[in-house]
């Protein structure tokens, strides 16, 4: 009896991610959802610019690499031309909530029938740890060396709360991958986000609160603890919008 195996929707390419990075877990959750729904053959993924830039090597479905922040626009084009395919984007906080904010908001407002996986680890990873739109007040990064000063550069963006104000989106949920229970919940949310698309319900975004041990300058275990103690109070987990429930 097999008790554990690699999801079919992942290739054999070894991840380039740093030790202790949670991207691996999130990739796996996405791939498991694709496997469970049996949609690998018709899924088209859109990779971001950021740490997950090479996600196209890891997912076994057809993949497109987008310009920084533009994944939801690219996905819009793909979905509009191939409405029977399943289209997802996989984006970090800089990509989705800074440079790509317009594309994010407008694809949500249009209730574009796509699935967005949003990895929020409050820092720019790929470029070496600069302040992100989601970096916490006081958080020390390479470009906020004295801590994020909200009087100077404002407050972090709460993406789920903000998008929940729109009529458009079908489903918005914030999850985390800091412990087994939360990882299981995250997996369920991601699967639901794909199911919504299959059922033609529209825009689903799952924000995954995540870590960056390398650029946070912490051991992976300490990073998980820091996430729990600092990120989750600012970014509370939960469902922010579920239109199918509102209608009942």
């Amino acid at each position: 009896m097999k008790v554990f195996e690699k999801p079919k929707a992942l290739t054999d390419a070894p991840f380039h991610y740093c030790p202790g990075c949670t991207h691996g877990i999130i990739h796996r959750l996405v791939a498991e959802a694709i496997d469970e729904l049996g949609i690998e053959g018709k899924t088209i993924g859109v990779a971001p610019v950021g740490c997950a830039v090479m996600a196209y090597n890891y997912f076994a479905c057809d993949m497109i690499e987008a310009a920084h922040g533009r994944a939801p626009a690219v996905a819009t084009g793909v979905k509009r031309s191939c409405p029977d395919n399943i289209v997802f984007t996989y984006q970090g906080d800089g990509d989705l909530a800074s440079i790509g904010m317009a594309e994010t908001v407008h694809s949500a407002a249009r209730n574009e029938n796509i699935t967005v996986i949003f990895v929020n680890n409050a820092i720019y990873g790929m470029t070496g740890g600069q302040m992100a739109p989601t970096s916490l007040p006081g958080q020390v990064t390479q470009t906020s060396p004295y801590g994020r000063d909200v009087n100077h550069c404002g407050y972090p963006v709460k993406v789920c709360e903000m998008l929940a104000q729109l009529e458009g989106p079908e489903y918005l949920e914030r999850v985390a991958v800091n412990n087994v229970a939360n990882i299981r919940k995250a997996g369920k949310a991601i699967k639901k986000a794909f199911e919504n698309q299959i059922n033609k319900k529209g825009f689903s975004l799952i924000e995954v609160v995540s870590t960056c041990p390398t650029n946070w300058g912490m051991k992976p275990t300490d990073a998980l603890k820091w996430l729990d103690e600092n990120m989750l109070p600012y970014y509370p987990l939960g469902v922010y919008k579920d239109r199918s429930k509102e209608e009942k």
Partner: protein
């Protein structure tokens, strides 16, 4: 079969695109090209196509990127400031070797500039149009009929070479109305697109549409390969029209509305007994070097007539290896040279000939 109808240049582009099998259009409003979007918004829903007004030019070109990745014909259109915004996407399209048709109905610049006709995006269109080493095929219509014909041709060239074709039209071309005939039965060559991301169906290895290449040796190789393709295009796709060039001593070079004006001036000058002809580039990239370098051995001088501060004039000098003097006759900022201005320039150049 086709009926001759009266159309604006912008509308002719939209109708021709549909006839060429383009069922996807994404755009953002900007004068003087918005009729293209308006036409598409009306037509596409009725024929099962896709029209979507994007939140920005940036989003529009990336929606184009998405559709093109799936192997389908797709286009966007804009005017000068909007094309600057699309330049990021144009570079990514080039890096990912994706075909598309982009229309630039130019207005005066720089910056917000004006809304009157211009050709001042010549450098931007022909020398790259974004970061990195790349080219677009650039087509310059000079009648409403050509707006339609070159749109159809542009889609074909884009698919044939897996790259962007740009229609570079000045605002006059977009706004003026002329009779136009667009066949109901456009012959569309089918190009295989095994690279398209339409789902693996679990039957093949996954396709990846991508412009990232972190290994310098590999990225260098990709650039070399792309330039081999460009060399082929330079060899095979140059287009220009010659007018009264057989015995010409002076060669006027002009495209778009400037060519229309120049042709009138050439006819007038001939009446005065001046041996002058016109070369009208139809492809701006590849620049029609062959016909110009041939002319350089026959004529005594060139005059570049442009709606810019002198951009194509540089390509004429390069194409002719500066064998003969190249003069500039221009207006800018939304102004168009008059036939009298061009005629005066022809007379001035004639006077200086030995």
């Amino acid at each position: 079969m086709a009926n001759k109808v009266l159309m604006k240049g912008n509308e002719a582009i939209a109708e021709a695109a549909i006839k060429a099998g383009c069922m996807h259009y994404f755009g953002y409003p900007i004068t003087p090209q918005t009729e293209i979007a308006a036409y598409m918004a009306k037509k596409m829903p009725k024929i099962g196509g896709v029209f979507l007004q994007a939140e920005s030019e940036v989003a529009a070109i990336n929606m184009v990127y998405g559709v093109s990745s799936t192997g389908k014909r797709v286009m966007t259109s804009s005017s000068s400031p909007g094309i600057s915004l699309k330049s990021e996407g144009l570079s990514y399209m080039a890096g990912s070797d994706l075909p598309t048709l982009v229309v630039n109905v130019e207005r005066g610049g720089p910056g917000l500039g004006g809304i009157q006709p211009s050709q001042s995006d010549y450098f931007q269109a022909t020398k790259g149009g974004g970061h990195g080493d790349f080219h677009m095929i650039v087509l310059a219509p000079s009648s409403v009929q050509e707006m339609a014909d070159l749109t159809i041709k542009g889609f074909d060239l884009a698919d044939k070479y897996r790259m962007t074709s740009m229609i570079l039209a000045d605002g006059t071309m977009g706004q003026m109305m002329e009779p136009v005939e667009i066949s109901d039965d456009v012959q569309i060559t089918k190009y295989e697109k095994p690279w398209a991301t339409t789902g693996t169906n679990c039957e093949r290895k996954h396709n990846i549409v991508n412009s990232l290449s972190l290994v310098p040796e590999e990225l260098e190789e990709l650039n070399y390969k792309r330039y081999e393709k460009y060399a082929q295009i330079k060899e095979n796709e140059q287009m220009a029209e010659e007018f009264m060039m057989d015995d010409a001593e002076i060669c006027v070079v002009a495209f778009g509305i400037a060519a229309r004006v120049s042709q009138n001036a050439v006819v007038e000058a001939r009446k005065q007994g001046i041996k002058v002809g016109l070369i009208r580039p139809i492809t701006l990239w590849p620049f029609p070097e062959k016909v110009l370098s041939k002319a350089a051995d026959k004529v005594k001088a060139f005059i570049s007539v442009e709606l810019s501060m002198g951009q194509m004039v540089e390509d004429i000098k390069l194409a002719t290896s500066c064998k003969k003097p190249v003069e500039l006759c221009n207006r800018v900022g939304g102004m168009i040279p008059s036939p009298e201005q061009v005629l005066a320039k022809i007379n001035e150049v004639k006077g200086g000939l030995k």
